[in-house]
């Protein structure tokens, strides 16, 4: 393989490059920093923020493990413990897992599909700021001892006005609003990017599997998240203005919340899982030195999972009075969803079988998936069985299941993805030796922590207990689990060290250190602000493998003002040009205004009214074009 940057023959002159830099780049200074709308800058911040929340959630987990290490421990009392486990679950699900997957999409998708920037870049920046402010709000509340304490699914009536007075649950419900607004907008941005900004020639069946994964995930978000938004709005109006959605005394119903929550909550777990499937496909292809076997099977499996994921929600509610027949239906549906997962696993194993394997760290993390996720999936099948679930529901067996699938199915592949794409993002390699230590400690620590929890559940230990008596036989296994958590923490520290050291002084990375097949490796590491000086024309699924992958380039897009190429949905034929906005402060200011509205409404419903004024002003200013801008655009205009 040649090591020159493949996209760029017929390169622009240094002068043109300078123009491109100016048009797409982030201006200097603090205001400039806040104004950036480059998907790489936003994506990078998104990833770093999500990882900071992961560390926070992980530290909370470590505290829980310390409290549970011995019976009748008095380290953490019930009040704080309830806040901690709620913050842990909420952080991991809403502030880490979903955002980090979308963040990887924001960074990688435009590079993978060969475009210069994401669609609606200002909306993308706005979504990031909303997410950041929401997270800061909830952690501020937690620091002030008004952190939420009703669990990550906050069932009313416990979370309702009568049994959770005070502001704790209001902050939780409003955090949901923040993360949903962010998540929904990001999914619109990603869907539009994937469908409309692919490089010419990248027909749907040539799209990288990771891009497919993000596409499916984004559609799932669009149909799942409205349910939780509606649910949490109902909760907050119940709490603040006296509506009765969940109040059985006035014709409302506690079960209504559960239906709405899990109609979102179940798809949510696949929203976390499917992007990880995309990481796995990318990494296996590169390190098995061959395309993944069964591309159509993998694509269809992801789509099938996306659809089926909406038909399982009642399996979280077997212990309620849902009708028996309905329960059997949901048992069957939950088992059916194992089939697309199984198909994908079989395809990957086949790929490994017929591949030539390069055991670098990214591959190690992905291989752990085959051990951990399979165990988690099998316990999922057990939970799907109504009668068996009724024994282990709401016990540590479920805690074991959820960490096996979430960490094995999403976090391990995510770490693989970090090792894999770190060179692209920073231009430096992560250290391989530290990486191996990181991996093995994580793998061992993980199993030591969570495997015993299966037994704890069967031995009768409920989840969400701040302590337990000494005579019920749970002490030893809890001690083991805590020991394992310490090992995980050490491995995470090694990761942190690795990232910091490599970022400062790691080995420089060439543009394509792994000799990988997809377009993001066709540009420099780190990529220039405009991604591609010349948008490539591709002719295969692995454009960088083999001489006939990239067959041409797009000329004539304006350098300054910034312009991007829009293509057709199915066949990615060039369709029109689109002038892009320049960086601007309004997305940031709009997010600030929105935050004032959301946080204010926790304290008075009138905030929705007066808070709407600055929001409307900011959004209008954002939309309003400058005089010079209009002239620039008119100069480039060509009617359809």
């Amino acid at each position: 393989m040649s090591r020159d940057i493949p996209v760029g023959r017929g390169e622009p002159s240094p002068d043109e490059n300078g123009k491109l830099e100016r048009a797409w780049g982030t201006p200097p200074g603090l205001v400039g920093w806040l104004s950036s709308i480059d998907h790489k800058v936003i994506g990078y911040r998104f990833i770093v923020t999500a990882m900071a929340f992961f560390a926070a959630g992980g530290i909370l987990a470590a505290l829980m493990r310390l409290q549970l290490a011995v019976p009748e421990n008095s380290l953490i009392g019930p009040d704080l413990y309830n806040q901690i486990f709620t913050m842990h679950g909420t952080t991991m699900m809403f502030l880490f897992a979903v955002p980090v997957m979308q963040a990887m999409g924001v960074y990688l998708v435009p590079l993978m599909v060969g475009t210069r920037n994401i669609a609606f870049p200002r909306l993308n920046a706005y979504a990031y700021w909303i997410y950041l402010f929401g997270g800061l709000m909830i952690y501020t509340a937690f620091a002030l001892d008004i952190g939420p304490d009703a669990g990550w699914f906050s069932y009313p009536p416990l979370a309702g006005p009568e049994f959770s007075p005070g502001k704790r649950v209001d902050f939780w419900a409003q955090l949901i609003t923040f993360t949903e607004v962010s998540g929904l907008l990001t999914s619109i941005v990603l869907i539009t990017t994937i469908l409309k900004l692919r490089a010419p020639g990248m027909t749907l069946d040539r799209m990288p599997l990771f891009v497919w994964a993000i596409l499916v995930t984004s559609f799932m978000i669009m149909f799942a998240m409205p349910a939780i938004m509606f649910a949490s709005t109902g909760l907050i109006t119940d709490r603040l203005v006296g509506t009765h959605f969940y109040n059985p005394a006035e014709g409302g119903d506690a079960m209504l919340w559960q239906h709405l929550f899990w109609f979102f909550g179940h798809p949510e777990v696949y929203i976390i899982f499917i992007p990880a499937l995309g990481f796995i496909s990318s990494i296996i292809a590169t390190f098995a030195r061959r395309p993944v076997f069964g591309y159509p099977v993998l694509v269809l499996s992801m789509i099938a999972t996306g659809f089926l994921g909406f038909g399982l929600w009642v399996h979280h509610m077997f212990a309620t009075d849902a009708p028996e027949l309905g329960k059997s239906f949901f048992t069957a549906a939950s088992m059916i969803i194992a089939i697309p997962t199984a198909l994908q696993i079989f395809c990957w194993i086949t790929t490994l079988w017929n591949g030539r394997l390069n055991f670098r760290v990214p591959l190690l993390f992905v291989l752990a998936f085959f051990f951990i996720l399979v165990i988690g999936g099998l316990t999922g099948i057990m939970l799907a069985s109504g009668p068996l679930d009724l024994q282990v529901h709401d016990t540590y067996f479920v805690v074991a299941h959820l960490h096996y699938v979430l960490i094995g199915g999403a976090v391990f592949p995510l770490f693989g993805a970090f090792y894999y794409w770190f060179p692209k993002i920073t231009g430096r390699m992560l250290n391989e030796r530290l990486g191996r230590w990181n991996f093995w400690l994580f793998f061992i620590g993980f199993n030591v922590t969570f495997f015993p929890m299966h037994h704890l559940g069967l031995y009768g230990m409920p989840r969400r207990v701040y302590t337990y008596p000494a005579n019920v036989g749970w002490s030893d296994l809890n001690a083991v689990a805590t020991l394992g958590a310490v090992v995980i923490a050490v491995s995470m520290l090694l990761f942190l060290v690795n990232v910091i050291r490599s970022y400062r002084s790691g080995a420089r990375s060439p543009h394509d250190p792994w000799s990988a097949p997809t377009l993001e490796w066709a540009t420099a590491s780190p990529p220039p602000v405009y991604n591609f000086a010349r948008i490539p024309i591709v002719a295969s699924r692995e454009p960088l493998w083999g001489p006939s992958g990239i067959v041409g380039r797009v000329d004539g897009l304006s350098m300054d003002p910034p312009e991007n190429l829009v293509t057709c949905v199915l066949d990615a034929a060039p369709d029109h040009r689109s002038v892009y906005p320049r960086p601007g402060i309004w997305p940031f200011l709009s997010a600030v205004a929105t935050t004032v509205l959301f946080v204010g409404s926790i304290f008075t419903p009138w905030a929705i009214v007066w808070g709407a004024v600055p929001v409307a002003i900011a959004l209008t200013a954002w939309f309003w074009p400058g005089k010079d801008e209009i002239d620039e655009h008119l100069a480039l205009e060509r009617k359809p």
Binding site: I188, K196, A227, D238, E250, G251, D253, W624, L634, K639
Partner: protein, 202 residues
């Protein structure tokens, strides 16, 4: 390394904007409509869910009075005419017509909001009376938020279209605004039926 003959696409030959689902705007608007449509659908389902939980319907209340809601519905249906007219004018890039159409739409939007205020007074139930009241108010409030934002969008766009230099892609914005208007009106029909007749049909 030798490569086959490079294909070159000359982007200067491509248009700088496009209407309908060729445009990015269409996809953005479509995404918003999908999300908001989902929210409306859930709000309707919640109304019927609440209904299964009580024996008498509507509980402790008279059904909402029909007059304002029906008037608003008729007005909304009527507004589809200028809306479509404006949308076509935009796609033909006929600026004078677009200007007139936009302002007519702004006028309709104002009327919707006024009538909507009256609708709230005619529901015969408060949001905090019982879960039925909560469901009805939620439905109406959700839709009102859309009417209000659409009103604001339309007004801003109408002012923008009064400038003397108009970019071509603004016509795309007007056209997408028209599509969104359709959504707001069409989404109202089932909500109208549920609020006003859900409490009458047994």
């Amino acid at each position: 390394m030798s490569r086959p003959q490079e294909q070159v696409v000359d982007a200067t030959q491509l248009p700088s904007y496009a209407f309908g689902n060729r445009s990015l705007m269409w996809w953005g608007t479509f995404g918003m409509m999908a999300i908001e449509g989902m929210v409306f659908a859930l709000a309707c389902i919640v109304y019927f869910y609440v209904r299964t939980r009580v024996d008498e319907w509507p509980p402790d209340a008279l059904p909402p009075e029909l007059v304002w809601g029906t008037a608003n519905t008729l007005l909304m249906l009527l507004s589809l005419v200028p809306n479509e007219w404006t949308k076509r004018a935009a796609e033909a890039e006929d600026l004078p017509k677009v200007r007139i159409g936009m302002w007519i739409c702004v006028g309709f939007g104002t009327a919707f909001l006024l009538l909507r205020t009256l609708e709230f007074t005619a529901l015969n139930v408060r949001w905090d009376t019982n879960a039925y009241g909560s469901a009805v108010w939620m439905l109406l409030a959700l839709h009102t938020i859309h009417v209000a934002t659409d009103f604001w969008d339309t007004t801003v766009l109408a002012v923008l279209m009064m400038q003397d230099r108009i970019e071509g892609k603004r016509y795309v914005d007007v056209s997408e605004n028209g599509m969104y208007w359709y959504f707001v009106v069409l989404a109202w029909l089932p909500i109208y039926a549920i609020i006003y007749f859900g409490a009458r049909v047994h």
